[in-house]
């Protein structure tokens, strides 16, 4: 398919853009992880889950292509001041750039470049199997542009690990949909759901990606009431530090929110999360942002049916692993529902005091900065 995009800036903000460009060049450093990326055409078949790594590297989950691609966004200049984003109809603007009606744009994920504070969106142009992947960038001034996927320094790693269920089929019908990714301590941790079997592994992949090593796969288990345990896929997760130890907070598809020590994520390990909250039925945590405010720890959670939830997360270290059948794990960390945000589809941390949310359903979708509550 023809995909020759130039990085075209949209709308106003020329002076800011120029200032940004100068700083980008000054800050450009090809050493480190960027040295392992190769320039060329990033052959994405889809653009789903996003995560930022070091030096402005953006990981893009390509579920249809069965791989993760690391892109050098060439966006390494630190934001100079607090960023306030308010873009109404960001899907409408992306649609205009690529020549379709807004209903043909599906926004799949949202992340903020921790260095530049520019917002990145993954999206699809079209809704069918031949939809084209898009990675859009929204600057602090609200400019919407597309990241060119041609001639971009990149590297990729395949996640394909199963034989074709029907070798005569045009494509292997088995697919792992990447639901979330995060870069933690030199590893990209990838969560996914299989469209065939239930039990899906969490993967931990060292970055830079080495030769065809796919990294450690882990079985993630969840126990309830110390009596029943399930090999349960992780839907969304976020890195989190508790008392100096690195954890991930993960939400399973069967709703509990758990903590898992990153030190437990060893190759081949069978890992069990420690439940810290059960958000109840008929909902799915979509994204999580941990933060500190006024000396307390909180986790802001975007939820498929409950909007935004603010979880009080003090003393999470006090939640002990379940190690006997008699211990109950329904811990009930208290949370508040924040009623003033409706139809939150995506949530990402901007800085210590702000987050970015994408709202709207069915559309148009609006991108805005909110103060962490």
């Amino acid at each position: 398919m023809l995909r020759r995009l130039t990085f075209v800036r949209v709308a106003v903000g020329l002076s800011l853009a120029a200032a940004l460009a100068v700083t980008v060049m000054a800050a450009r450093k090809p050493a480190g992880v960027l040295a392992d990326l190769t320039s060329g055409n990033a052959q994405l078949k889809s653009a789903g889950a996003l995560a930022f790594g070091p030096d402005g590297v953006l990981f893009v989950g390509d579920s249809i292509g069965g791989e993760v691609v690391a892109l050098d966004t060439n966006d390494h200049a630190a934001a100079r001041s607090a960023v306030k984003i308010d873009v109404q109809g960001v899907d409408v603007k992306i649609a205009a750039l690529v020549g379709v009606t807004p209903d043909q744009i599906m926004i799949n994920d949202l992340r903020v470049n921790p260095i530049s504070k520019n917002v990145y969106l993954s999206a699809s142009r079209g809704r069918g199997p031949d939809a084209m992947p898009l990675v859009a960038r929204v600057s602090g001034s609200g400019d919407v542009s597309l990241l060119s996927l041609d001639n971009i320094p990149h590297s990729s790693i395949s996640l394909t690990d199963a034989p074709a269920s029907d070798p005569s089929a045009r494509r292997n019908p088995r697919m792992m949909t990447i639901t979330d990714m995060n870069y933690v301590n030199g590893n990209l941790i990838v969560a996914g759901l299989s469209n065939e079997e239930w039990s899906s592994a969490l993967r931990s992949i060292p970055f830079p990606f080495k030769a065809a090593k796919e990294g450690a796969t882990l079985q993630i288990w969840h126990a309830s009431h110390g009596q029943y345990e399930t090999q349960s896929p992780v839907r969304t997760f976020v890195p989190y530090t508790i008392s100096g130890q690195q954890y991930i907070l993960a939400a399973y598809t069967c709703t509990p929110l758990v903590k898992i020590a990153v030190s437990d994520l060893q190759p081949g390990a069978k890992v069990k999360g420690v439940t810290i909250a059960d958000l109840g039925s008929g909902n799915q945590p979509l994204d999580m942002v941990p933060y500190k405010k006024d000396g307390h720890d909180y986790i802001l959670i975007a939820n498929s049916s409950l909007g935004l939830l603010k979880l009080k997360a003090d003393n999470l270290e006090g939640y002990k692993p379940i190690d006997s059948p008699t211990v109950t794990d329904v811990a009930g960390v208290p949370y508040d529902k924040l009623g003033n945000f409706k139809n939150v589809q995506q949530l990402a941390q901007l800085d210590d005091s702000d987050a970015v949310i994408l709202t709207g359903k069915p559309g148009p979708f609006n991108l805005q900065t909110i103060a962490l509550p």
Partner: protein, 340 residues
């Protein structure tokens, strides 16, 4: 000058005819002279590239023009003067509905109350982002039962012809708040109808030929992992091209049956065609070559699941607490049989 200028669309490229472009592009780029917009709103212009071809300024969009979409090309003469604007309507192809729901698995009319997944097979590629409001589960009175399925990501195959729907595992797994407050999505003894709306657009945006309904009844929960000792192999006769039959006491997961079983003989794997019958309780292998006398193994991947997500040797929710010390091992189970 501007009066003689016209804009043409040829082969997906927009051309400014009747205007002699300067050799170098203007200070603010060619886009300041000529741009193409999607629709009529005050929106950013189409992404694309400019070139001078045969003395004419040409704009090539980065993405192919989409059917049924209106594009507005605007030329601003460099020396001022009236802008030239032309609207291009990309034809909307007249398309008749052609996609339909071919089958839903499990195909049985009784589903265990801890049924984990449904696989919906369409005859054509479908549009993503619709499942949440196009698939409904009704009770015996036709009332819609909300919250039966896990919201969130739609799990398609790469051709968007098979959709995997997961019943809310929080309601299935024993001991969770959802399970205790709402109970399982399917209750033993009750009747249900799965309804798929005709309005679901296929990948071209055209609705289905017709809607789909599947009636089923809740059966007892399936808590025991599949036990290969209870499976029955019917070996074919030597020299024949009969199918090898494997029968299960309860239905198994349809897509997994297609890839998690194979047959190995002394000459290596037996090539053939797999088919699944009798409401997913029978797996058949029709060999490419007639069977030879000898010892064979039916190799089973222990990840093979039944309808409730129990897999060989391991229930979906294990009700005996065990310390987590095991490591992943790719496990297969061999079931021997003899062809005579």
């Amino acid at each position: 000058m501007a009066e003689s200028v016209s804009i043409q669309l040829q082969g997906g490229a927009f051309r400014v005819m009747g205007w002699n472009p300067p050799r170098a592009q203007p200070a603010h780029g060619w886009a300041s002279v000529f741009a193409v917009y999607t629709g009529s709103g005050a929106l950013p212009p189409l992404l694309g590239s400019y070139a001078i071809e045969a003395g004419a300024l040409v704009f090539r969009p980065s993405f192919p023009l989409a059917p049924g979409v209106q594009y507005r090309a605007v030329f601003h003469p460099t020396g001022g003067g009236t802008a030239v604007e032309k609207i291009f309507d990309e034809p909307s192809p007249r398309t008749a509905p052609s996609a339909r729901v071919e089958q839903v698995y499990p195909s049985a009319e009784v589903l265990p109350s801890n049924q984990l997944r449904l696989y919906i097979y369409f005859s054509g590629s479908m549009s993503r982002g619709e499942a949440g409001h196009r698939i409904h589960m009704l009770d015996a009175n036709g009332k819609v039962l909300p919250g039966a399925f896990l919201p969130g990501e739609e799990l398609w195959d790469p051709s968007f012809q098979r959709l995997t729907m997961t019943f809310d595992p929080g309601r299935i797994k024993r001991g969770l708040t959802s399970n205790e407050a709402m109970g399982p999505p399917i209750v033993e003894g009750k009747r249900y109808t799965l309804v798929i709306d005709r309005d679901w657009p296929d990948a071209r945006g055209v609705p289905l030929v017709e809607g789909f309904r599947k009636a089923f009844r809740g059966g007892p929960a399936e808590r025991n992992p599949p036990d290969p000792k209870q499976w029955r192999i019917t070996a074919p006769k030597a020299g024949s091209s009969q199918a090898l039959l494997l029968n299960f006491p309860t239905p198994m997961n349809y897509p997994l049956l297609q890839r998690m079983l194979h047959v190995s003989g002394t000459q290596g794997n037996v090539a053939g065609t797999v088919s699944i019958d009798k409401q997913e309780t029978e797996w058949r292998l029709l060999p490419q070559q007639p069977w030879k006398t000898g010892d064979y193994q039916l190799i089973v991947d222990s990840a093979l699941e039944d309808l409730a997500g129990n897999h060989v040797g391991q229930a979906f929710d294990i009700d005996v607490f065990q310390h987590v010390t095991e490591h992943i091992a790719t496990k297969t189970i061999s079931l021997p049989f003899v062809v005579r």
